[in-house]
């Protein structure tokens, strides 16, 4: 199974699900002749068709390495981003960003721990001053309710 074929199957399932969900949408007025489900039918139908075409046209192509050697780093980065997003409100912008940026520096190859921590403290503070104070975005303050 090539990546494209696998994608084609996933897309086909999504397209069918999309159309099936659209069947529950009913119009309320007589004037709106096609109702709220006609357009999703068209989009979903075309998508299913394209998924079939994708399945047919795909050619097997050798991918070097294992799944983890190809996608390991990006997946870990995405996971760390997820953790950062979840921590943003409970910990507040300053703490969560400081942790995330320090982790990023160290993980991407910074050998000196003190330099990573120092730099990320600087970056965090600079971004916070710019967006929270200059642009007035009121970033999450966190459990301390401070600083605002």
């Amino acid at each position: 199974m090539t990546a494209d074929r696998l994608a084609a199957v996933v897309i086909l399932i999504a397209a069918v699900q999309y159309v099936v969900t659209a069947r529950t949408y009913h119009g309320l007025t007589v004037a709106d002749v096609v109702g709220p489900s006609a357009y999703p039918y068209i989009i979903g139908g075309l998508m299913a068709l394209m998924a079939v075409l994708l399945f047919v046209q795909s050619k097997p192509r050798p991918l070097g390495g294992t799944f983890w050697s190809r996608h390991g780093k990006p997946i870990l980065l995405a996971a760390s981003l997820y953790v950062y997003i979840r921590l943003l409100e409970p910990l507040g912008f300053l703490f969560s960003t400081f942790l995330y940026v320090s982790f990023g520096h160290l993980w991407l190859g910074e050998s000196s721990r003190s330099r990573a921590l120092g730099l990320s403290a600087g970056v965090t503070l600079a971004l916070w001053l710019l967006f929270n104070c200059v642009f007035d975005l009121s970033l999450p303050a966190g459990f301390l309710g401070w600083p605002r």
Binding site: T21, K73, G109
Partner: protein
């Protein structure tokens, strides 16, 4: 003609107001920074700034966004030439000869000709835009919903054909964008669709979230594998200015690049990337001795740089007059306008003349600012590239998080951004173009509405799309644009003329 001059004067009176001039300068500077940073191109740059400019008046906001857009394009060419890293797809063609020139110690002339070519192209583009857009807008007033629906279909089909090598994948990308657009409350009946009970989705998925996820987050995920401990190699910038001989050699390349770029830009769906590749190919074909191309020929920098700039201006025309953006960046800018309650389309010219003419004049002003800003500041912008990636990428992600958070202050948006980043990563790893998805998202809502309006008018008769003459012609063009690659391939196969190698 006098009407055009009058509008021009009105436009400049807006663009040259001290406040707007300040917005333009700040925008140009921020844009250049964005263009130089890897991972954030013009699309993401403009998208990230939308939440920050929503409060100010639409004309000033649009002036600033345009300056950012322009600045990012300039910044992208700078990095293409100096380090062989194109900031975005439309400056890829510039790397072919630009980087080669830099390696041969001619980075200065390469940067200068890129700036001058862009300036000339931008000037021509803005003047033509002033001449063309009003007649086009007047013509478009005759369009009904059926015509608009057909026109958007044409835009989406041309972008699918031109966006990549694989038509099926490009169409899938468009459909993905259209699908995302159906999430939220249906504007005709008021029922909510595909919200899965999540209240944050009732308003639909925000453009900023999608643009940042698909473009910026996916880019960082994509390049994180290539982070190395070594520093990038830099070409030295010795002499900044170019000689008359250089200028004379590139003059016709600039003229041709401008014309090609502007024409491509007007076509809905085709964008700066195609324009720059086409004009590079054209120069190479027209040159008496094409062996110098790819080895630091100045024409190879002048042509694509003029073309991508002219097309950026050209793409504004369908966006402003018809409400149909010609590229991913103009799609994002149109999204920004819609957030500010300014709906692009033929009525824009009478309802918001300050936005239209102020924007056109400010495009010209931005061009001039960038020419003045970029030549002396090239050294500074290049310093940014010396920052190691391991310091850069975490900050870029934090900026994206702030930008998306600013839109709706919700974790749902941030989670969606991450999911779309993963989708974008998959798409780019497997050769699906991501630009068409943005265009699909921006056009989706209006396409569905116009389709349903047209059917309400015709009492549910679908043939209205082909019996109305203008709509029928546009639909025929859309079908033709989808079939074009296959027709060309079929014609090419018989006589064995090799044209594809030119690009």
């Amino acid at each position: 003609m006098s009407e055009v001059l009058q509008n021009l004067g009105y436009g400049f009176s807006i663009a040259l107001q001290p406040v707007n001039l300040l917005y333009a300068v700040v925008g140009a500077f921020v844009g250049s920074l964005i263009g130089v940073l890897p991972g954030i191109g013009p699309v993401t740059g403009v998208a990230l700034l939308i939440p920050l400019v929503v409060g100010i008046n639409p004309a000033s906001a649009l002036i600033m966004l345009t300056a950012v857009f322009y600045g990012a394009m300039y910044g992208g060419s700078t990095t293409s030439i100096l380090v062989n890293v194109p900031g975005e797809a439309s400056s890829v063609a510039t790397t072919f000869d630009g980087y080669q020139m830099a390696l041969r110690g001619r980075a200065g002339p390469a940067l200068s000709i890129a700036a001058i070519g862009s300036f000339i192209a931008g000037t021509f583009g803005v003047i033509s835009m002033m001449l063309f857009s009003l007649p086009l807008a007047n013509f478009a007033l005759r369009f009904g919903p059926a015509e608009y629906c057909a026109l958007m279909l044409l835009g989406l089909s041309t972008v699918s054909t031109l966006a990549g090598d694989n038509l099926v994948k490009a169409v899938l990308s468009v459909l993905f964008g259209l699908m995302l657009a159906t999430v939220g409350t249906d504007l005709v009946t008021g029922i909510d669709r595909y919200t899965f009970g999540i209240p944050e989705l009732l308003d639909g998925i925000d453009l900023v979230t999608v643009a940042v996820g698909l473009f910026a987050i996916s880019e960082v995920l994509l390049v994180v594998d290539q982070v190395t401990s070594g520093e990038r190699k830099f070409a030295k910038i010795e002499r900044l200015w170019l000689t008359m001989k250089d200028f004379a050699a590139s003059w016709w390349a600039i003229v041709r690049g401008t014309l090609v770029g502007f024409y491509i830009g007007i076509l809905p769906g085709a964008g700066a990337t195609i324009a720059s590749f086409l004009s590079y190919g054209l120069e190479k074909r027209l040159a008496k001795d094409s062996s110098t191309f790819g080895k630091g020929d100045i024409r190879g920098v002048a042509a694509p740089e003029s073309a991508n700039n002219a097309s950026a201006v050209g793409a504004m025309i369908p966006m402003l007059t018809l409400g149909i953006p010609g590229s991913s960046t103009t799609a994002v800018m149109m999204g920004a306008l819609m957030i500010m309650n300014v709906l692009p389309g033929p009525q824009l010219f009478s309802k918001h003349p300050d936005v239209v003419w102020g924007l056109m004049a400010s495009m010209y002003v931005s061009n001039a600012i960038l020419l003045l800003l970029n030549l002396p500041l090239v050294g500074l912008f290049v310093q940014i590239l010396r920052i190691r990636e391991r310091y850069l990428y975490p900050s870029i992600i934090v900026i994206c998080v702030i930008g998306v958070f600013a839109v709706g202050r919700s974790l749902v948006d941030l989670t969606l951004m991450l999911l779309l980043g993963l989708v974008g990563y998959y798409m780019r790893r497997h050769d699906y173009p991501v630009g068409p998805a943005i265009l699909g998202l921006v056009l989706g809502d209006r396409m569905e509405q116009t389709m349903r309006q047209a059917l309400i008018i015709s009492n549910g008769d679908w043939s209205t799309f082909v019996t109305r003459p203008i709509s029928a012609i546009i639909l025929a063009l859309a079908a033709l644009s989808l079939a074009a690659p296959y027709i060309i391939a079929a014609v090419k196969r018989k006589p064995k003329v090799v044209l594809a190698q030119d690009v």
